[in-house]
């Protein structure tokens, strides 16, 4: 067996979460116009201001053009062929408690390894589950309420906490920001809202699992996390989708706001369906994630492990407005099969003594294409701003690619920006050495890849790190006999 063959087999892993759940759902026919938006808003019984916000975004969206795809090859998207709303029927009015959640859904989440029943839930992790367009269950709410933490679906927040939503929604990612963020503002279906009040350390990890189930639907979730002065919260996001031959669009917006001395840690393990070996199907993952370090000494940290999706286009960013604020970005992005990823971050240094760290690990296997795109901007007032960027690529096989596009803009002479980049390949020498010591080829690849990603995995909360490691192994292992 040639090494190339073996490597090909190695990377031909199956997708574990490809099942479809049979639930009756309430799905809007495909198409997008003002009526669709009115329907959607009415369905959710939204107040007038929310509908206005959506319509304003929609009208602006009509004037915008799709970005021209940097380093991605993309089939044109027909926005009229997508359904903008799909809800499991029984959950359409929003479940009041877990007892009201469709047992099929609970079963789905169990299959995904996300037990919604509180007694089974991971100790200390509160879960919000978003199924197609609707949030179906949020766990541990009472315990969180005691600490004063608000953790609910964004639809619910629109009703219950309109002042908070009005103040913060769109304040980091305005609807005019980009094509997909604008579309999201017009049609976002659901998502999670978190508010941690002044001085409160959120007593548990908060977590959302997103799942796209219906065919031909898009998922446009919206997440808004606000940490008030001196507050701390760690938030985890996981996602999967069934295997389908057509591409499905996922265009989410995540906004984080950290006030003075606040600290937000946002971790993602993204495992959307990547498409098959020939590159048919899979999720288009076009996401705008941005954190605003609004207060002095605030801290926002993004950690992402991206293994799924046919195409990933996302740049979790930090706006470092507050003096002495800190932004971090730790990323592992894996592309195999015909997956494409164009991901990275943007660090906007505005305040004095702002610091940022970027650690990006790209792994490409089979025909995977992986691009790191990062912007570090030191504004005119960013006295003593510091950035360190470490950008490493690992290639497995010789048909894949890695590309690095760092953009650096420095407008303050006291600021310092460092950029290091490496590209390496798992060599036959390394595999032979490992095998001579008794490791199988799979074990060897997994060991080397895990070693390569260590700095990023170390940033993940414990249970998530274990999951991420497993996911990575499943992604890269395969049918080696």
């Amino acid at each position: 067996m040639s090494t190339q063959r073996e490597l090909d087999d190695l990377v031909k892993a199956g997708y574990e979460h490809g099942f479809v759940t049979q639930v009756e759902s309430d799905t809007l026919p495909p198409g997008l116009n003002e009526d669709t938006i009115r329907f959607l808003s009415a369905k959710k019984k939204e107040p007038e201001w929310m509908l206005e916000y959506r319509l304003k975004a929609y009208r602006h969206w009509l004037t915008m053009e799709e970005p021209d795809w940097a380093h991605l090859k993309i089939e044109p998207i027909d926005y009229q062929a997508i359904s903008y709303y799909s809800a499991p029927k029984k959950a359409a009015d929003g479940p009041k408690s877990l007892d009201e959640v469709d047992p099929e859904l609970i079963e789905t989440y169990n299959k995904l390894g996300i037990p919604l029943e509180e007694q089974k839930a991971l100790a200390g992790v509160a879960v919000d589950a978003v199924f197609d367009s609707v949030s179906v269950a949020t766990t541990f709410r009472e315990e969180l309420a005691k600490a004063g933490v608000i953790f609910c679906s964004i639809s619910e927040a629109v009703h219950q906490y309109p002042e908070l939503v009005k103040r913060y929604l769109g304040s980091v990612v305005p609807h005019t920001d980009n094509f997909f963020a604008c579309l999201n503002a017009a049609v976002f279906s659901d998502g999670t809202f978190v508010y941690v009040p002044e001085g409160v350390r959120c007593p548990m990890e908060l977590s959302t699992y997103f799942r796209i189930n219906e065919a031909k639907t898009g998922q446009f979730e919206r997440t808004l996390i606000v940490a008030d002065k001196g507050a701390y919260v760690s938030y985890l996001e996981g996602c999967t989708a069934p295997m389908r031959d057509e591409n499905q669009l996922h265009a989410a917006v995540v906004e984080l706001i950290a006030l003075e001395d606040a600290d937000i840690k946002y971790s993602t393990v993204q495992n959307w369906y990547p498409g098959d070996e020939q590159g048919r199907g899979g999720i288009y993952n076009f996401v705008t994630k941005r954190g605003d370090c609004r207060g002095d000494r605030s801290h926002i940290s993004w950690t992402q492990v991206e293994t799924g999706s046919a195409i990933t286009w996302k740049y979790p960013s930090c706006i470092l407005q507050g003096d002495d604020s800190v932004g971090e970005f730790y990323s592992v992005a894996v592309t195999r099969g015909h997956q494409q990823a164009d991901t990275g971050t943007k660090m906007y240094h505005i305040g004095k003594n702002t610091r940022s760290t970027i650690v990006s690990k790209g792994i490409s296997a089979a025909h995977g294409q992986n691009a790191y795109r990062g912007l570090v901007r030191m504004g005119a007032k960013a006295e003593n701003g510091r950035n360190h960027t470490q950008c490493d690529s690992l290639l497995i096989g010789d048909k894949c690619g890695a590309h690095t596009f760092p953009y650096i803009e420095v407008r303050n002479p006291t600021a310092k920006v460092e950029h290091e980049a490496t590209t390496s390949k798992i060599s036959e020498d390394q595999l032979f050495y490992c095998r001579q010591r008794g490791l199988t080829e799979e074990d060897a690849v997994s060991l080397i890849v895990n070693g390569f990603c260590k700095e990023v995995f170390n940033e993940l909360p414990m249970e998530f790190a274990v999951e991420a490691r497993k996911l990575l192994n499943i992604t890269l292992e395969g049918a080696v006999g």
Binding site: F432, C434, R435, Q436, R437, E441
Partner: protein, 251 residues
Amino acid sequence: MLSIKNLHVEVDGKEILRGLDLEIGTGEVHAIMGPNGSGKSTLSYVLAGREGYEVTAGEVLFEGRNLLEMEPEERAWAGIFLAMQYPVELPGVNNMSFLRESVNAVRRARGEEELDAVSFMKRVREKAELVKLPDKLLKRSVNAGFSGGEKKRNEILQMALLEPKLTILDEIDSGLDIDALRVVAEGVNALRGPERSFLMITHYQRLLDYIEPDHIHVLAQGRIIRSGGKELALELEEKGYGWILEEEAAA
């Protein structure tokens, strides 16, 4: 233990080994010497199962099994260990974890229980002490940025932990200072026993002072052209290889 008959090996269409014969009995220590480029490392790679070495004729039996049919890891499980002339670096892979993965992989394959973290640590510390490998090297990435001598000691540490039946040492002495050479030799001698065999590849008589071989062979032109006892090494040290090659040509 190991029986090589009429082994022919090609690399990139070029014949490197041309009818090599070698028998290594259980508990024996053999040394192979020979000019640069004569095929010594090639032999060691073929025994360990590295890709790219095409066996065009001959057979290799290890404890009666056809070695050439086995995958590299299967050979490791069966008890073959190769200390490489140029140990490979594994950046990012913690040395201690690698040792553990390796030992447990071999144990699993042999149907033995995996070692728990505590007893494993204890064993590593003990063996590391034996080869005088500083603790800090256990915490670093496998061989990454190790000095030449450190790499060699790390190989011997792996050997000591895996307790192979047949150890092939490819120029374990190259790049070692005199103290390190002694330490490495002690590591090997500690493992020596009636059930283990060794095949040492070296250019220098000095190693053989520390690890005394039972047999010495000269590999040249892709074959073993002379075998003998310790006195052969002394003769080679004094006269080089020219005279044997001449005698061979005349024969």
